[in-house]
């Protein structure tokens, strides 16, 4: 982590100060190692808890959308002499822990013919790669666990490696149905890698760096004092952001792209042969992927840890990051509550015939934008041009793809 500038507010420097208080006395190589371990532990703890409460939030929000409370009966654990603890109403906050206990205590069933090493490694690998991606996201002004020059590349490389683990899971089960399902899941993941990657190429082009801290730096400042320079507030940035979020939905197997893992009608999915803790690990990896991709979206498009308005800068940067992260995650949940699933072929067609062309055209739009960054007149002119370049392909390609599908009017019998 970079050294704290002493001009920052106290809250801003608080994590640094805390860490230095604990490790400041250690000699040099040890201090670096212990700082690293502390960073890892903090990330695991914070995002582990976030995952737990995210599952709860999802169930409660889904419940509220469906006119019912979510889980609200999970009691706190009791001991024989502390029975009163069980009577406290937790409003469901104890639910994730109850689920964790259930996952841990379930019997771990491994099929007899399964490839034992791969069967064990698959969830481990999946989780490992998912957590690796957390290393390069800047959570605050001085809170990047690892400063890399090619941070974005590293992030997506680690993220793409998770797909290997999905296939490992299907293959290791020695069950032809889960193998087929794993292949379908892999097809979905690979199809959506391309729009995912293409959507941030414009960002890197304009920011001029692959480093996440650099990209956040590039989004500094306010236009006319109140419109931040976030990438999402430009036509190409908005298009890129939407493509990125849709691909992120598909990459983390979330509704409406969750056919591989939903109660698949015939095939039970690539996770059939997993029970108990390993299943919980898969689940955790999916949510970590969601959180990591949201974090990356915030870094690339939403200005990272930057405040939206100048007078709001007194709120520490990690708080802003948290607010944006939670907003995006709530958006994921909202989408899950509303939309039905896409069929497999519709899914892949959507990726290849709609998202990829749009992402490629977006590259062109960004080039136009950056080339017109000269005088003020050009800067004003580039807005309608780039907006047209974003909207027109969207409408044209959308119309061609949904040619056979339209709302219908019905006739009534003439009697």
């Amino acid at each position: 982590m970079s050294a704290a500038a002493t001009t920052d507010a106290f809250l801003e420097r608080a994590p640094q100060l805390l860490r230095d208080a604990v490790t400041g006395f250690l000699p040099e190589p040890w201090r670096w190692i212990v700082n690293g371990i502390i960073a890892i532990a903090v990330i695991l703890a914070v995002f582990g808890l976030l995952f737990a409460f995210l599952t709860l939030a999802e169930r409660k929000i889904l419940g509220r959308v469906q006119n019912r409370p979510g889980p609200n009966r999970a009691p706190t654990p009791t001991l024989p002499f502390l029975k009163f603890l069980g009577k406290i109403r937790t409003y469901g906050l104890a639910q994730p822990f109850a689920d964790g206990v259930k996952a841990l205590t379930k019997e771990d069933v491994v099929p007899r013919d399964a490839d034992k090493l791969l069967h064990f490694l698959a969830p481990v690998a999946l989780l490992a790669f998912s957590i690796l991606t957390f290393a390069v996201i800047p959570y605050g002004r001085h809170l990047v666990p690892l400063e890399l020059d090619a941070a974005v590349l590293y992030f997506f490389a680690a993220g793409a490696s998770t797909e290997l683990a999905v296939f490992m899971a299907g293959w290791a089960s020695r069950n032809k149905y889960s193998l087929l399902a794993a292949m379908r899941a892999l097809a979905q993941l690979i199809s959506y890698e391309l729009p995912l990657l293409l959507s941030w190429v414009p960002v890197v082009m304009l920011a001029g760096t692959l480093s996440t801290t650099g990209i956040v730096e590039a989004q500094a400042g306010w236009k006319w004092g109140f419109i931040p320079h976030w990438h999402v507030l430009t036509p190409w940035g908005f298009c890129g952001f939407v493509i990125f979020m849709v691909s992120a939905l598909a990459e983390s197997n979330r509704s409406p792209f969750d056919l591989p893992e939903a109660e698949s009608e015939l095939i039970a999915g690539h996770l059939t042969e997993y029970s108990g803790f390993k299943y919980a690990l898969f689940f955790m990896a999916e949510y970590f992927g969601m959180i990591a991709l949201s974090g990356m979206a915030i870094t690339l498009f939403l200005g990272g840890w930057r405040a939206p308005l100048p007078f709001l800068e007194f709120v520490p940067s990690y708080a802003w990051f948290a607010v944006k992260l939670i907003t995006l995650l709530l958006g994921f949940i909202w989408i899950r509550a509303t939309f039905p699933r896409l069929r497999m072929d519709q899914l892949t067609r959507f990726a290849w015939k709609f998202l990829v062309p749009l992402a490629l055209i977006n590259l062109g739009t960004t080039t136009v934008w950056s080339l017109m960054a000269g005088s003020t007149a050009l800067q004003i002119a580039r807005w309608p041009i780039c907006l047209a370049l974003v909207v027109v392909p969207f409408v044209v390609i959308g119309r061609t793809l949904s040619a056979g599908v339209a709302p219908r009017t019905y006739r009534y019998a003439a009697s």
Partner: protein, 213 residues
């Protein structure tokens, strides 16, 4: 336009989410068993036998063991054995009245066909039991409940039944009084005649269909 349908859907979902916090029509869960919903009066579950008197339920059952409900019950879940006195003559009381509630389908036909308003539908539904056989055969003792209980669970219906029964009783009493005075008069005018036909003992009124149940 593309995507507008999706956005409309998102708007509806958001409306429900926000509405669930302040609008009771959008948060319809009744958190049973802490909160119980009020049942409508007409709700029916399993039958019970009406006893006039709460202190002596077995002795004041309205049931006369006419066996009509046993015959009409579709799944044949009622089993009645008539009481016989010491000489073996039938007494209008049931000795055994069993209902197998694992068979009963709560169709209410027994209530409809009973001419004496003796069997009515109960509203108890929290009767889950762990015993598979014994607890699911309700005997006369379990089935008998007083008329006051009937008033509690079906107030309007019970009031109607009471009115009808009172009317029947009044009519029966009037007929009896008339017959008694007639026989008095007949005895007075023809003391030696033995051919005066004595009027038939007043019987209960012909079975009337019970009020809308």
């Amino acid at each position: 336009m593309l995507g507008t349908g999706l956005i409309q859907g998102l708007a509806v979902t958001a409306k429900n989410l926000v509405g669930s916090f302040h609008d009771p029509a959008r948060y319809t869960t009744v958190e049973y068993p802490e909160v119980k919903q009020k049942l409508p009066e007409a709700y029916r579950n399993f039958p019970f036998l009406v006893a006039e008197n709460a202190e002596d339920p077995m002795g004041t059952l309205r049931c006369v063991a006419c066996l009509i409900c046993e015959k009409e019950c579709p799944p044949q879940c009622i089993y009645i054995v008539r009481e016989r006195d010491a000489k073996g003559k039938v007494v209008t009381r049931p000795k055994v009245f069993d209902i197998d509630i694992s068979v009963c389908m709560s169709c209410q036909i027994c209530v409809e066909v009973c001419p004496f308003d003796a069997i009515k539908m109960d509203q108890e539904f929290e009767i889950a039991t762990a015993s598979r056989f014994d607890a699911l055969l309700l005997k006369k003792e379990d089935l008998a409940k007083p008329n006051t209980y009937y008033h509690q669970i079906h107030p309007k219906e019970a009031a109607e039944v009471d009115a009808i029964l009172a009317e029947q009783k009044a009519k029966a009493a009037a007929t009896k009084a008339e017959a008694a005075s007639k026989s008095e008069a007949a005895k007075a005018t023809k003391p030696a005649s033995a051919t005066t036909p004595s009027p038939a003992a007043p019987r209960a009124e012909a079975p009337k269909p019970p009020p809308a149940a």
